[in-house]
Amino acid sequence: MPAVSKGDGMRGLAVFISDIRNCKSKEAEIKRINKELANIRSKFKGDKALDGYSKKKYVCKLLFIFLLGHDIDFGHMEAVNLLSSNKYTEKQIGYLFISVLVNSNSDLISLINNAIKNDLSSRNPTFMNLALHCIANVGSREMAEAFAAEVPCILVAGDTMDSVKQSAALCLLRLNRTSPDLVAMGEWTTRVVHLLNDQHLGVVTAATSLITTLAQKSPEDFKTSVSLAVARLSRIVSSASTDLQDYTYYFVAAPWLSVKLLRLLQCYPPPEDGAIRGRLTECLETILNKAQEPPKSKKVQHSNAKNAVLFEAISLIIHHDSEPTLLVRACNQLGQFLQHRETNLRYLALESMCTLASSEFSHEAVKTHIETVINALKSERDVSVRQRAVDLLYAMCDRSNAKQIVAEMLSYLETADYSIREEIVLKVAILAEKYAVDYTWYVDTILNLIRFAGDYVSDEVWYRVIQIVINRDEVQGYAAKTVFEALQAPACHENLVKVGGYILGEFGNLIAGDSRSSPLIQFDLLHSKFHLCSVPTRALLLSAYIKFINLFPEVKGTIQEVLRSDSQLRNADVELQQRAVEYLRLSCIASTDILATVLEEMPPFPERESSILAKLKRKKGPGNLHPDLDENRKERSVNGGTADHSSTTSNAKVAASPTPSTDLLGLGSTITTQNSAPRASKGASLLVDVFSGNIAAFPVETPVSVGPVADENFSSFLPNTPQVAYANATLPTAEEPEDKFVCKNNGVLYENQLLQIGLKSEFRQNLGRMYVFFGNKTSTQFMNFAASVVCQDTLQAQLNVHAKPADPTVDGGAQLQQILNIECVSDFVDAPVLNIQFRYGGTLQNIAVKLPITLNKFFQPTEMTSQDFFQRWKQLGAPQQEVQTIFKARHSMDTEVTKAKIMGFGAALLDGVDPNPSNFVGAGVIHTKTTQVGCLLRLEPNTQAQMYRLTLRTSRDTVSQRLCDLLSEQF
């Protein structure tokens, strides 16, 4: 071998490098560099023209200085000059400097491109290669513009040397990656595919990478590469190890090329042609067989190269996901690797098995390795391997092994590396919820999470446990008992205090019968934690206290005492102070009945996908992000973002609210409505926050109405503050889909990345017909499509919805129509749910949307005179027949819009009835199968205060309430 001919090198450069190495300090180094830079600058600026060699030497020194991490702001011109030298080494250094140091917007780019052009047309392969390397290294847009047309020509020209072809192929690959729009497909594409047949394996190696990149962009154009790739792979796999000469690497035939060919095949589905498919299966089997053969060498390079091919083959098998035997064989092979002495192989086996776990053919086979994986979690010394084990356990979890896996993850959590704790917490929370048959187990698991890793339990996790407890009656007593016991610990995590405060505030009564957990003991227990907690948690506890006053009148005095203390009433924190003042006042003036209404138990949360899942996906980084999550993020920012901004917005809010609420108190109507007004939007935002991962599931037509609040998660999350204590019924959320359909019958109900649901409906008396249009937004067919309507609980008896069966497939871009026949039996509150299920690209999609069928749809307008109106108004004067609410305007108070809304609501708009012309009066009849209910309504706007008062009188109290709730959401 020709050792480096050191003598020919640049001695000045070597001396300079030695000097730098001998520098004892950073300062000395900088001093030496500055001296050198000054010298070079003077040489470049000097009168004496520099010869090529000197130029090369100085440019090389600059390069060295740059690579040391210092900035270089001159010398570019000299480097460009070197490009046009006809001495190879000068040219080479020039190109190196340009590749490393030139940024694309450089003024010199046209000079550089010119030099490259000359070299490309020089027909000197060495110069051509230098030029192609430079394009590939810089890969800027300007270069793509200049050379994207020329490089393909060089690549497929008959007389191009092999080495130049290789460079041209990868140069084109780089241009296609940086500026795919500039690389136009053309007649060269077919010729490129045929490079897979080239005699020179180097050319095939380079070309395969190029074809893979291009095939990802336009698979149709490169479809023919499949059969050629299979043929090539087959020849390599069946060759004797010596056949390929220098392309055999440690007794493995062309491992790089094999891996690349297998990668290329992953751009396509399994070959349709039986013969090709058979040949490929044979290749894959041979590769799997070879894994069982004794190694031909003890060198790690041999086993690495061999296994690289094996893992790529397994990736292809998983990608095809169609050959059960191969999948199971792959799984068994990986199973062997799980216990291999090489850490690298154990890591890769865990990683690869993760994808295998999601195939229905191999899921069971993967599960058989559970003990080994658990063992890896406990005994692996390398955190990155343990991380893979956690991922695999998560992937292989199903109902049969959930308890075991969750238990193992929990016990691992106690000693887990800090870097992965949060992710494990999220995973445990998701698995526990997903596979909980018994919700007591779920509650225990989450409390254990808080106990073992409280700091890593994010808000989403503890929100979720509360949502679930509230929605499941059967677990509420157990949850209360368990948190009570957990709170006994002398030191417990603040997250536990939050959960404990919330749950005891709601369900403490369920355990109050036991003298060991009497109301007073419960309160004392919670209050013993109060002073150690942060402001948000204290705010939550104050709400729990007011709930206690309602649940347990016997502790009212004690709690009032606490609220009355200076540390509460005069607390420096405005939120705490306000809560203490309001709650104390409420407890003093409100009757038991009113308290019971205001502080009623939380209504169930709407069932939606867990926001924890979204959080986990987000944590996994943008690369792995599911597309529709990006949308969620956007929505989040629209809604005011995260708790980070909350303090300012909430302060602004609190400061603003006293004025309207004191005004309202003066009016002297019921407490519920008074307080609900100013904070209704807050109530809306709380749901947004709690389900932040999922906002995209609900079309937000008017994000403004949600308010800029996205409130601090504690106080707004707690709907037991009086402002949100609506008697029952739906929570006032502006973006509930039915809200926007209350006054209209057509529109888009739901939309995500895949599917759009449109509605058209008509109603007559107590009957209705709804046309539901399912639009497939993708280009892929939806399989097993099914949509059904469910009326839950009491709604079953109140509303009949009959869905006509629809086609089980929806073609890409097509729309499917389904007809729903609706009959209103008696007045109702809840909305029926439309459940949609379909398979899209192998994954099952489940969507549940509330159908906007509301009571007012069965309204028939009734015209009447002023006299009639007032006569009936008086007849409906019993207290339970009238429902009134006062609320803040959420939209601009436009008369015409208001009129349109009242008519859209279904009532007749009666002119000249109300003596005050700015008020609105309406009348109509609600038709149900069993009865007809006459309804009168009056809406009084107060533009100055930006408030409305709405009064409903009907012959049925439930109808009054429901119509009032529905209509008050519209303004």
């Binding site: 020919d8 790529e312 792995n624």
Partner: protein, 157 residues
């Protein structure tokens, strides 16, 4: 492959090759972070790690760490052997290569890498072919260097 870094046990960067467009600032930040992460790992640990949304494959040869960042679907083991093949090429060219060879002949290290890897993909995996290309270049260099034979000592500054 997105980039390749060579650095010493002391964390000194010896070679950097970027196959994705990044600003100098980003490059420096990535380098700093990654060098720290890799140097903190213990000897028997596995050669792969997840880093940001990339996979990092590294291996230590004597005092030098060779470290590649690849994309998610790329093959870790074959990347490990790309590193090894590059080390073999350097070794063959310099004759028992050591860190000093790479420091003093950094431009050669870049040239050899370009012959082997282009745009982040293996260009030619035959050791002979790659070395042949480099030898040819050296031959050109030697012919030309005779012209400089008589240069005075002015290059020592």
């Amino acid at each position: 492959m997105q980039f390749m870094l060579l650095f010493s046990r002391q964390g000194k960067l010896r070679l950097q090759k970027w196959y994705v467009p990044l600003s100098d600032k980003e490059k420096k930040k990535i380098t700093r972070e990654l060098v720290q992460t890799v140097l903190a790992r213990k000897p028997k640990m596995c050669s792969f790690l997840e880093w940001r949304d990339l996979k990092v494959v590294y291996k230590r040869y004597a005092s030098l760490y060779f470290c590649c960042a690849i994309e998610n679907q790329d093959n870790e083991l074959i990347t490990l052997e790309i590193i090894h093949r590059y080390v073999e090429l350097l070794d063959k060219y310099f004759g028992s290569v050591c860190e000093l060879d790479i420091i003093f002949n950094f431009e050669k290290a870049y040239f050899i890498l370009d012959e082997f890897l282009l745009g982040g993909e293996a260009q030619d995996t035959s050791k002979k072919n790659v070395l042949k290309a480099i030898e040819q270049a050296d031959l050109l260099q030697e012919i030309q260097s005779e012209d400089w034979g008589g240069l005075p000592n002015e290059e020592i500054l």
